[in-house]
């Protein structure tokens, strides 16, 4: 998936700004800037990055919807209506007498063209209301309820906000449920990558010498192999009869096994750079213990960079999962993820009859762009005194 190499968080800002620069930039008094904590400075600068703020709010919304998927989705993933396969999207209409409504439809197959045809019954109304009772679900996996944010007022009525898929299930609900896997697989995968990257990059950067050389060669080796064929090869060896959860975990591990290299490089680079800083030397001369030097003096200096790099690695993982599932080697059908949904949209012929099947792709694009904006903003603000690029 053609993931382009991860942009690396700028390892060495070559000009250092002053308190005055920063106070002019954030519009705060130089006294406030001088006494503010590092975290506060980063936040002030991040807030100035308009695209990053937009991205951040998008992500907050998307993860909230994913966490309360049952509430936001009008239907559960298992509810479908066979006769409504490939039903086009229904735009709610409004009248003062009826409120928001759509007309119920009956579907059948055109015997000559074999295309699905839907007839509206304009006599009847499906009323769309807020906080309606519908399919049962467990909120956050704990609280059993059947309240949905928005949907048909009577349980059993159908409404296809974004159209229906091959089986006649509501695409909007599936996209909302799919976000649970698609948005979390990136985080879990990056967490595993980060663990590997911290461990190996840390060893490489802290000890240096032969260990460093060997690890650097290994990283270069990994970076010089096309990842997708390897992923495909590894993913093909996951037995198809495995359940959804083990497959999910396996895919995550496969994604992160090949994704740790760039993180390890960044961590090593930062460690090497910080190791030679005057304040580390000063701490050393004062007789501070190694552990305290690492955790009290060195780690805070590069956490912000690591966070920036991580936030740029998440979208790459999301794209990878989508591509693997799309090719049929990732998650498989009973599981719902954006990649699995896009499997339905494999050929141009299907898209010509049901273009709305590409909408899960828009969700992917939105999530990835949002993560990239946030990552870019974090990278700019990770070093509050560094120059702005």
């Amino acid at each position: 998936m053609s993931q382009p190499q991860l942009p690396v968080a700028d390892p060495e800002p070559d000009e250092t700004g002053t308190t005055e620069d920063l106070s002019a930039e954030t519009g705060r008094s130089s006294g406030a800037v001088a006494s503010a904590s590092q975290r506060r400075l980063i936040w002030w600068r991040f807030r100035k990055h308009r695209l990053a703020m937009i991205g951040m709010w998008l992500l907050v919304i998307m993860y909230t919807v994913a966490a309360f998927a049952g509430f936001f989705a009008p239907f559960s993933t298992s509810s479908y209506e066979g006769q409504h396969a490939y039903h086009p999207p229904q735009v709610p209409q409004f009248s003062f007498a009826e409120g928001l409504y759509v007309h119920p439809t009956t579907g059948h197959t055109d015997l000559e063209t074999l295309a699905p045809v839907f007839e509206e019954n304009t006599e009847e109304f499906i009323h769309l209301r807020f906080f309606v009772h519908g399919d049962e679900y467990k909120l956050l996996g704990l609280i059993e309820t059947d309240i949905h944010l928005f949907g048909p007022s009577e349980p059993g009525e159908r409404w296809y906000a974004l159209g229906a898929d091959r089986t006649g299930a509501d695409l909007l609900s599936k996209i909302i449920y799919g976000s649970q896997i698609s948005l979390s697989i990136g985080l879990v995968g990056v967490a595993v990558s980060l663990l590997l990257g911290l461990l190996l990059g840390g060893i490489s950067g802290y000890f240096g010498g032969t260990v460093d050389t060997i690890l650097q060669r290994v990283i270069e080796l990994f970076m010089s192999i096309p990842t997708l064929p390897l992923w495909l090869g590894l993913a093909a060896s996951v037995p198809p009869q495995w359940g959804a959860v083990p497959t999910y975990l396996m895919i995550t591990v496969i994604l992160s096994l090949l994704g740790w290299t760039s993180l390890a490089r960044v961590i090593r680079g930062r460690l090497l750079q910080i190791r030679d800083e005057d304040y580390v030397l000063a701490a050393n001369l004062d007789g501070v213990s190694t552990g305290r030097i690492i955790f009290r003096h060195m780690v805070p200096a590069f956490t912000s960079h690591i966070i920036a790099t991580v936030s740029l690695a998440v979208p790459a993982m999301i794209l990878s999962e989508t591509a693997l599932s799309f090719l049929g080697l990732g998650l498989r059908a009973p599981a719902v993820s954006w990649g699995v949904l896009l499997q339905d949209a494999q050929s141009v012929n299907v898209i010509a009859t049901a273009p709305w099947l590409l909408i899960p792709g828009l969700a992917v694009v939105l999530a990835v762009v949002a993560f990239n904006f946030v990552g870019d903003g974090l990278r700019d603000s990770a070093d509050p005194y560094g120059k702005r690029s």
Partner: protein
């Protein structure tokens, strides 16, 4: 330069060996051995294999022997005899299957690489010169979007547009009348007509990263004293930029070109599958699905080797343009 080249060659050889081991490891991952799979497949069709022939195959591929023995048989056959083993799905030698398609894959890769450069370099330079102006923002946002659109989605969308509005036949690299025709001028034109969709799709995904790098490098150089000196001496702006900062900003550009090759092959697998191109990507995917592991391993090996060679060439190019790299100072 000679010393540097030799040094790099010494690095490439162990890399190639390790890559071949990884490729073979992947072949071995699925449970059971391939002969058992093949026998099962044949029996399912009501045929049976001659026991003598079976024994010959068993000895030839070292089935049942330790990993290293099997690996040695596999790799020594490839290196010494050019024999990649047999594809069960096609019942043909893997080497034949790959060589039929490799040319198109390499052509696609080269065309993509060139297009990526042609788009990304000027875009990055303009973005740096016009920093914080409209052009910069437009290029940055477009770059992010190009990075975010999954390859296959872009391919599907473009194929749909080509089909809907230009009446272009969808899929494949040739129109029906040229598929089996010998090479001619018309066939080349036909190929170019079909090649643009996959090339544009794969190239776009790669440009965003290079635009960012070029922009950052140019910004670093643009404010250095030597640029001011050139301006102070009255050099026209265009010439100033071409002659001085651009040359230095190009260095990392050449070196990242090498890192970009893997992503081109990655993109090729997906895009070629969606568009049903006759390249190695769909073959690889098909072989992985049907667990035709010798074919899969062979393709992974060839792609990885091509990538390593590409990276090697880009390292040499970098050394050629930047003396600091040659002397190990940068």
């Amino acid at each position: 330069m000679l010393r540097f080249t030799l040094y790099r060659v010494l690095h490439v050889i162990p890399t190639l060996i390790i890559i071949s081991i990884i490729s073979f490891f992947i072949i071995q991952l699925p449970p059971g051995d391939f002969l058992t799979t093949q026998i099962a497949a044949l029996e399912a069709q009501g045929e049976s294999l001659d026991p003598a022939q079976l024994e010959a195959l068993r000895i030839r591929y070292g089935i049942g022997e330790p990993f290293w023995v099997q690996y040695w048989k596999w790799i020594s056959n490839i290196v010494l005899h050019g024999d990649f083993g047999l594809s069960f799905q096609y019942q043909r030698p893997v080497a034949d299957l790959i060589s039929e398609r490799l040319g198109l894959t390499v052509l696609l890769g080269l065309a993509t690489l060139i297009l990526t450069w042609v788009i990304a370099l000027p875009a990055g330079v303009i973005s740096a010169i016009r920093q914080h102006k409209a052009a910069d923002y437009i290029i940055s946002v477009l770059g992010f979007v190009a990075l975010a659109v999954p390859n296959f989605l872009a391919a599907l969308a473009l194929a749909y547009i080509g089909f809907r509005f230009f009446g272009q036949s969808v899929g494949g690299l040739f129109s029906a009348e040229y598929v089996n025709a010998p090479w001619s001028f018309g066939r080349v034109l036909d190929l170019l007509e079909h090649l643009w969709i996959p090339v544009v799709v794969i190239a776009l995904a790669g440009t965003a990263g290079i635009i960012r790098t070029t922009r950052a490098n140019m910004l670093d150089e643009l404010h250095k004293p030597y640029v001011t000196t050139a301006r102070a001496k009255g050099l026209p702006e265009g010439r100033t930029i071409r002659k001085y900062p651009l040359r230095i900003a190009l260095n990392p550009f050449v070196s990242t070109a090498g890192w970009n090759i893997p992503s081109i092959f990655d993109g090729e697998v997906i895009v070629a599958t969606v568009l049903a191109l006759g390249t190695t990507g769909p073959l690889l995917l098909g072989s992985l699905r049907s667990q035709d592991m010798y074919l899969a391993g062979g393709i992974i090996l060839i792609i990885a080797v091509l990538t390593v060679i590409g990276t090697f060439i880009s390292d040499l190019l970098l050394a050629a343009v930047d003396p600091r790299v040659r002397f190990g100072k940068a």
